[in-house]
């Protein structure tokens, strides 16, 4: 499944010794992590384990502390601005959907093409032929992506008027508009019903195969995780406690303990506030 020999050597994404400290709280502690080319890997862990925080470091929203490093396709991106990292090919969705609510689905997707488009003030104002072509292509690509995620019909709806599931789909389409190498999905099935979750497994495979990206997902739905992931990494209280295939992780005593230990408060429908970069 994961064999893709095109790029030899560098993994799609490599994170070394990532730490994040909030005041006294070590939210992520020296976590290293690799996403191989064209793979689907998962990051799991109880609530508050530090998964979203880890994503925020990868995407440049939080700085990597204590000498942590992030490399994207072999290129060091540590310390780069979020938009720079995004344009180099690291796209994400948000656990708490963060669409541009008052823009249409199509506009949302086109925003993410910003770094691939060239039009400046002058070209836009005179609407030069090359600028028109660029806009047309952007428009076509946006529609293609919207169709790909299954919401082609809603292209001109405002994002806020989409159904919850469609908003999640739109987030994926928007992320794909960056033409990323690696796609990070933060709890993409949250709020989906079991049927939608089941479909999601196929969807992730399609994304990987047709869009040629590696996918890293944070997921709470174990049935999804076990079926979709080639490798699983488990975080608990900021520490990486296990890593391996679905079977290896499932039987790992530390994982079982982490989940059972927090089972009481792990109905996973609690309020999450780990999304934020600004403080």
């Amino acid at each position: 499944m994961s064999e893709n020999p095109t790029t030899v050597g560098q993994p799609a994404l490599q994170a070394d010794d990532i730490s994040v400290i909030f005041g006294g709280l070590v939210a992520v502690n020296k976590v290293s992590f690799t996403v191989p080319e064209q793979s689907i890997v998962s990051l799991i862990g109880p609530n508050g384990a530090g998964k979203t925080t880890f994503f925020n470091v990868l995407t440049g929203l939080y700085p990597a502390e204590r000498g942590g490093q992030v490399a994207l396709g072999g290129r060091d991106v540590t310390g780069l601005a979020p938009h720079k990292i995004a344009s180099l090919g690291l796209a994400r969705t948000f656990q708490n959907i963060r669409l541009f609510n008052l823009m249409t689905a199509e506009e949302n997707v086109k925003v993410a093409m910003h770094s691939h488009l060239k039009a400046g003030v002058f070209g836009t104002v005179i609407r030069a032929p090359w600028q028109r072509r660029e806009e047309r292509e952007a428009h076509d690509f946006a529609l293609e992506l919207l169709k790909f995620v299954g919401i082609g019909k809603s292209a001109y709806e405002y994002a806020r008027n989409l159904s919850y599931g469609d908003q999640r789909r739109l987030e994926v389409a928007r992320a794909l508009a960056l033409k990323p190498k690696v796609l990070l999905l933060d709890e993409p099935t949250a709020g989906m019903n079991p049927r939608e979750s089941a479909e999601f497994v196929d969807f992730v495979h399609r994304v990987r195969d047709e869009r040629k990206v590696s996918v890293l997902l944070i997921e709470h739905d174990m049935s999804v995780v076990m079926r979709v992931s080639e490798r699983i990494t488990v975080l608990d209280r900021g520490e990486k406690i296990a890593e391996g295939t679905a079977d290896e992780v499932r039987t790992n005593p530390r994982v079982v303990e982490a989940y059972l230990g927090s089972a009481a408060n792990d109905n996973h429908v609690t309020i999450d506030d780990g999304e934020e970069a600004g403080s």
Partner: protein
């Protein structure tokens, strides 16, 4: 999300032929031609009673002033309405544009030390000063304002919007102060002639309409109709640029920043560059407004550039309908007319009818503030809002607290949203 999904018409396909883009230049031209014909060719020959009434209630000079306000308000709209950056010192760009005109189009020449003429039109007796062609003056003012927009923006646009508002406020105070004190006593050399100001500003070769006759000649301070032609062209240009930008890559980026800055940056939008672009484009429009103002006055004085100008411009944007050029245009024309003509005239009529002696214009800001409060209570989206803004505010009435505060701080927003999402 738990918010009620209110039936909203699906927005039209934004791509391809945009009908509004074809229609408005026509409407605008017709309106401008009507004004020119009326004030240039019909008004002078009307019976004195009617003429007097028009000159009292809708003088062309005040229409010109309204257009100057409109140009600047449209520029501010790019900063505030499009990109969502609060600017409280926009008057600085007016002052910069105005003084650039005064420097480059008068006998002043920094105390008469400089003297040259590039396609300009110095007065017959002129022996000093820089005399540039008006087109060059516009380019220079645009350049100066864009430069200052970037200089002030670069260090401050990283700040959160409330700090940004304070810094721009300071900028709006400093620049006019420099102009006010810009002579030997204040600055050490004569930059702006301080409170005496610079003037007169050169007249320019232009189509001129005099009592129904069209002549090509020198346009001086009193040729209101000629200047109206120029000002309406400039206003149309700024509208055109606003609309075009809004629909392109930059406009989308601005709107995305206004909606969710963090998500925008995670989608590859360079926040600083996009904000700087908004700031620079807005500054240029303000500068053009400043040039027009200088042409209108015929000389440049530091006094008009007060904080009240910045606030009035902001009110024009908000009252008119943030983000929508037509709303802002309407807001600017209405408020400007009301301030310059409507209120004094109403006051005069009132006083003569009731034999009172109330100074109505002095209640200007009281009325203004009252209207603002009422608008914010009953029609927060402005007179002619952008369709998307209307969407949010009306859902707000449906009891959706999340939608009611679109400009919340990031942190709050997340907590609110996460309650919804998870």
């Amino acid at each position: 999300m738990s918010q009620p999904t209110i039936a909203v018409p699906t927005p039209k396909r934004p791509q391809g032929v945009d009908r509004t883009q074809l229609r408005w230049p026509l409407g605008f031209t017709v309106a401008a031609v009507v004004v020119v014909v009326f004030y240039g060719f019909i008004l002078p020959f009307l019976v004195p009673g009617v003429r007097g009434w028009v000159q009292d209630w809708l003088p062309i000079s005040e229409i010109n002033v309204a257009l100057i306000w409109a140009m600047s308000a449209l520029g501010l709209n790019i900063v505030v309405g499009y990109a969502g950056l609060l600017d409280l010192g926009y008057v600085a760009f007016w002052a910069l544009g105005g003084y650039t005109t005064a420097w480059l189009m008068s006998d002043f020449g920094f105390g008469g030390k400089v003297n040259f003429n590039i396609f300009g039109s110095p007065g017959a007796a002129s022996t000093t000063g820089i005399h540039l062609n008006l087109v060059l003056v516009f380019l220079a003012a645009a350049g100066v304002c864009a430069l200052f927009g970037v200089i002030i923006g670069a260090p401050t646009l990283r700040l959160r919007s409330d700090y940004l508002a304070l810094v721009t406020l300071g900028f709006g105070e400093i620049i006019p102060q420099i102009f006010r004190n810009g002579d030997e006593d204040g600055l050490g050399f004569n930059l702006t002639n301080a409170t005496l100001g610079i003037g007169p500003i050169d007249s320019m070769t232009f189509v001129r309409i005099n009592r129904g006759d069209v002549v090509v000649g020198k346009l001086n301070v009193f040729d209101h109709v000629g200047r109206f032609i120029l000002f309406s062209l400039l206003t149309a240009l700024i509208i055109f640029v606003s609309l075009r930008l809004r629909q392109g890559r930059l406009g989308r980026a601005w709107l995305a920043i206004r909606e969710d800055e963090l998500a925008a940056s995670a989608m590859g939008v360079p926040l600083m560059r996009a904000k700087l672009a908004a700031y620079a484009v807005g500054a240029i429009a303000g500068g053009i407004g400043g040039v027009a103002y200088a042409l209108h006055l015929g000389r440049m004085l530091p006094d008009p550039f007060t904080f009240a100008v910045s606030i009035t411009l902001l009110a024009m944007v908000v009252l008119g309908g943030m983000g929508n050029v037509w709303g802002v245009l309407l807001g600017a024309l209405m408020i400007s007319w009301f301030n310059s003509t409507g209120l004094p005239q109403i006051g005069d009529s009132f006083n003569s009818a009731f034999g009172t002696n109330v100074n109505f214009p002095s209640f200007n800001f009281l009325i203004f503030g009252g209207v603002l409060v009422l608008m914010m209570l009953f029609r927060r989206e402005g007179l002619l809002p952008e369709s998307r803004t209307r969407l949010v505010l009306h859902e707000g009435e449906a009891g959706d607290t999340q939608a009611e505060e679109p400009e919340q701080e990031l942190v709050d927003e997340t907590t609110v949203k996460s309650g919804d999402v998870k």
